[in-house]
């Protein structure tokens, strides 16, 4: 059952990465315009980097 120690650690770290990503989206204001973001991916104009 030594594998448990590794698996639990791995799952916690993976979960932590997810939580960190969630914090990042929150701080980057990605929930301010859910409708617009959903539609923006459908526009035919694209550019090499995201708009400011």
């Amino acid at each position: 059952m030594e594998v448990l120690a590794i698996l639990i650690l791995v799952s916690l770290i993976l979960g932590g990465v997810g939580l960190g990503a969630f914090f990042w989206t929150l701080r980057a204001r990605q929930y301010d315009d859910p409708e617009g973001d959903a539609r923006r991916i459908l526009t035919e104009e694209w550019d090499d980097r995201p708009k400011p």
Binding site: G15, L19, L26, R27, A28, R29, D33, R39
Partner: protein
């Protein structure tokens, strides 16, 4: 000077982790166009992916514009531009692209733009969700039969995740429970907090003694579901608040001040009593004051409900919000900004609102019945098990905690917000903005409707009614004269001529005589359009609103006007009567038009010439009779009554103060959605009651099991998630 500043800043950073994050989040956001935006516009027509490209492209192509970003959720365009680019240029560019744009006052919006509370709740929800998933994975192993050391290890890990989560995610509940206890009340949050704390504490104790049952998963799950309810509730109100704020921001508060160096456009806050302000024809008077020079007519409909414009001359006192019609005025400021006429109304509104806060919402009533029962049952099972086991505290506390967790109002916390969110979304699509959390419940109870006339049942825009009785050519002449004025009657004639395809006659030398009318030369003779006395007509009196056309040959001709009915007004009154409501018409206007309107719509009770405080008194008297009054009004004269009524609705075209005082704002011109809205409100109250019944049912099944001592963490988790999901699904049936 540095010390107070440092003192003021310190607590904000130290108070809680979320507080420290929120400002950081704001600072981060400023990288985007939204943060740098100097100009904010409302673009209500934007609705699709193609709109984004069209709007942003059109504005970005303007010289001096550094960036433009359209927020499709709020339908707002944020423009970052050089200082010399004005909002007018952007509005023009939008118009060329086929979109209507309205400038918004960025300062008014700034207050709601950074929704720190919503982001805070969302973060706590995220943390609770993360913890719930991890603890659940560990719990599944325990439920499926992990033994001895493995179980203890899993309990320890669960505790290590759950305890900080409960401490962080539970803060909103702990805080409001403390507040409730200080006020010596038992709100919904007291049993919630107690369950969270007791579940965590008993689980730690059990883990220390390698017990079989630890409720870490239940505690975290509870926090997650309750936070979800809280967040839904907050979001519904935030959307309504932001939309209401946008209405306020549409009126960019500026005035033209006569300075020593000529006219200058200043913000209203910069004005002081004694300043001179120029008010152009067609503009709203921005301040309270007296007329210094100039003659005109002013439209007071929003303030008094009078539909007929009043003549204005030097010395007359005017109030903020009145509309200047025909001539330019210079007004000496007596009060500006927050100190204007609105303040006189503020006392009235505050008084009436204090009465309304006594309303106890369904959720509060449910909590009031529920909290004592839960506490008594938990205490009784504690006492009972102490008796049975002969003083075994460990068993007794375990059972009591299980009772508290299983009865905990997970579903109760979701019951109201889920329904209100679904119903508000449905009403929003119908054009109604629900500003207050309990407005729906109150709307469902309504049995009496009080209507205002001018601006509410009518559009405040007159319409000529006797055109067919007039000799041919009269309309062409009147339209030609009317084109030279901003007066609503003149504009109505122009519009009527255009609608009938009548080309204006060739009138020359148009001249507006402020307060009297318009004069011109036609085929060598003098023609006039205006007040009866000025044109030289004999008026027979009577209530009808009229303007007269004086011709070189023949007697003056009257154009009789009627205020045009708001679309849907007839449907609304018919529907209200069909629902068995008592309908009253209270107006500040003269008896004639009010009686005519009442007869036309089939309203049995009406009163004319009602002063603002009389309206409040009438509404209060109806309330004293035990009637639940819905008030519909738009003007300053309705503000007090709007606040005094059980629930109130005002159209978006109404005065800012009226919209602020009412619970629901009608976004469109049409009144018809109000009738179906009442039915939706009744339906949502029924759903809320169903939800309460559902969660009570779960409790009735689960609580005996918990009291007997057979509850396990698995049962608690099942009961909690099943009841929450059922309640949410039931609420979604409303959409």
């Amino acid at each position: 000077m540095n010390t107070p500043l440092a003192l003021a800043e310190a607590p904000g950073l130290a108070a809680c982790p979320a507080c420290a994050v929120a400002p950081a989040a704001i600072a981060q956001g400023s990288r985007h166009a939204a943060g740098r935006a100097r100009i904010v516009l409302s673009v209500p027509a934007a609705h699709c992916a193609a709109c984004i490209g069209a709007v942003e492209g059109a504005v970005a192509a303007l010289p001096g514009v550094r960036g433009a970003r359209l927020n499709l959720t709020l339908r707002r365009l944020y423009v970052d531009a050089a200082p010399d680019v004005g909002a007018e240029a952007i509005v023009a560019a939008l118009a060329r692209a086929g979109y209507e744009g309205f400038e918004l006052d960025a300062a008014t919006l700034a207050a709601v733009e950074t929704d720190a509370e919503g982001r805070d709740l969302l973060m706590r929800l995220g943390v609770a969700g993360f913890a719930m998933m991890n603890v659940m994975l560990l719990s599944v192993a325990v439920w499926s039969g992990a033994e001895a050391a493995t179980r203890d290890l899993f309990h320890w890990i669960s505790g290590a995740i759950a305890l900080p989560t409960v401490a962080f995610a539970g803060q909103p509940f702990f805080r409001s429970a403390l507040q409730a206890l200080r006020a010596r009340r038992l709100g919904m949050d007291v049993p919630i907090s107690l369950a969270l704390i007791l579940a965590s504490a008993i689980s730690v104790y059990e883990t220390l003694h390698s017990g079989r049952h630890a409720y870490f998963d239940a505690a975290v799950m509870l926090a997650f579901f309750l936070l979800a309810g809280r967040y839904l509730d907050h979001r519904t109100r935030a959307i309504a608040r932001s939309a209401a704020q946008e209405l306020a921001a549409l009126e960019v508060p500026r005035a033209i001040r006569l300075g020593p160096a000529g006219d200058e456009v200043v913000a209203i806050e910069a004005l002081a009593p004694g300043d001179l302000v120029r008010v152009l024809p067609g503009a709203r008077i921005p301040v309270d004051g007296t007329i210094e020079t100039g003659e005109s007519e002013i439209d007071r409909a929003l303030l008094t409900g009078e539909s007929m414009p009043q003549p204005a001359a030097p010395g007359l006192a005017v109030g903020a919000g009145e509309m200047n019609l025909t001539g330019a005025l210079v007004v000496r400021v007596t009060a500006a900004g927050a100190a204007t006429t609105l303040r006189r109304m503020a006392d009235l509104v505050a008084l009436a609102e204090a009465a309304r806060t006594r309303y106890t919402s369904l959720a509060d009533r449910a909590a009031r019945a529920y909290s004592p029962i839960v506490h008594v049952v938990a205490l009784a099972s504690l006492g009972g098990w102490l008796q049975v086991t002969g003083g075994d505290w460990r068993v007794a506390l375990n059972v009591a905690a299980a009772v508290l967790i299983i009865t905990c109002p997970c579903a109760l916390g979701l019951a109201v917000p889920a329904v209100v969110t679904a119903a508000s979304g449905r009403l929003y699509r119908a054009g109604l903005l629900i500003k207050s959390g309990t407005a729906l419940e109150r709307l469902a109870e309504v049995d009496t409707v009080v209507l205002d006339k001018t601006g509410t049942l009518t559009l405040g825009a007159p319409r000529p009614v006797n055109l067919d009785a007039l000799p041919p050519g009269a309309l062409a002449l009147a339209a030609a004269l009317g084109a030279g004025s901003a007066h609503p009657l003149a504009q109505a004639l122009v519009a009527a001529a255009r609608a009938r395809g009548v080309a204006p006659a060739g009138v020359e030398d148009l001249r507006e005589v402020p307060g009297q009318g318009i004069e011109g030369r036609w085929q060598g003779g003098r023609v006039r359009l205006g007040r009866a006395a000025w044109v030289g007509a004999e008026t027979a009196g009577g209530a009808a609103t009229a303007t007269w056309l004086g011709r070189p040959d023949g007697a003056p001709l009257p154009f009789v006007f009627e205020d045009s009915l708001r679309p849907g007004a007839e449907t609304l009154v018919r529907e209200l009567r069909a629902q068995g409501m008592r309908v009253l018409l209270l107006s500040g206007d003269a008896e004639g038009p009010v009686a005519a309107m009442a007869a036309r719509l089939g309203i049995a009770e009406h009163a004319a010439g009602v002063l603002p405080h009389e309206k409040v008194a009438r509404v209060a008297a109806l309330a004293a009779e035990g009637r639940r009054v819905l008030m519909l009004g738009d003007g300053l004269n309705d503000t007090g009554a709007l606040a005094a009524a059980h629930v109130s609705i005002s159209p978006a075209s109404g005065l800012d103060a009226a919209r602020a005082a009412s619970d629901i704002v009608l976004m469109g011109r049409d009144l018809a959605p109000v009738g179906p809205a009442i039915r939706t409100a009744r339906l949502s109250v029924r759903r809320i009651r169903e939800n309460f019944a559902l969660s009570a049912l779960y409790n009735i099944v689960a609580v005996p099991v918990a009291i007997v001592g057979l509850a396990s963490p698995l049962l608690a988790a099942l009961a909690m998630s099943l009841s929450s999901v059922t309640v949410t699904l039931n609420a979604l049936r409303l959409r």
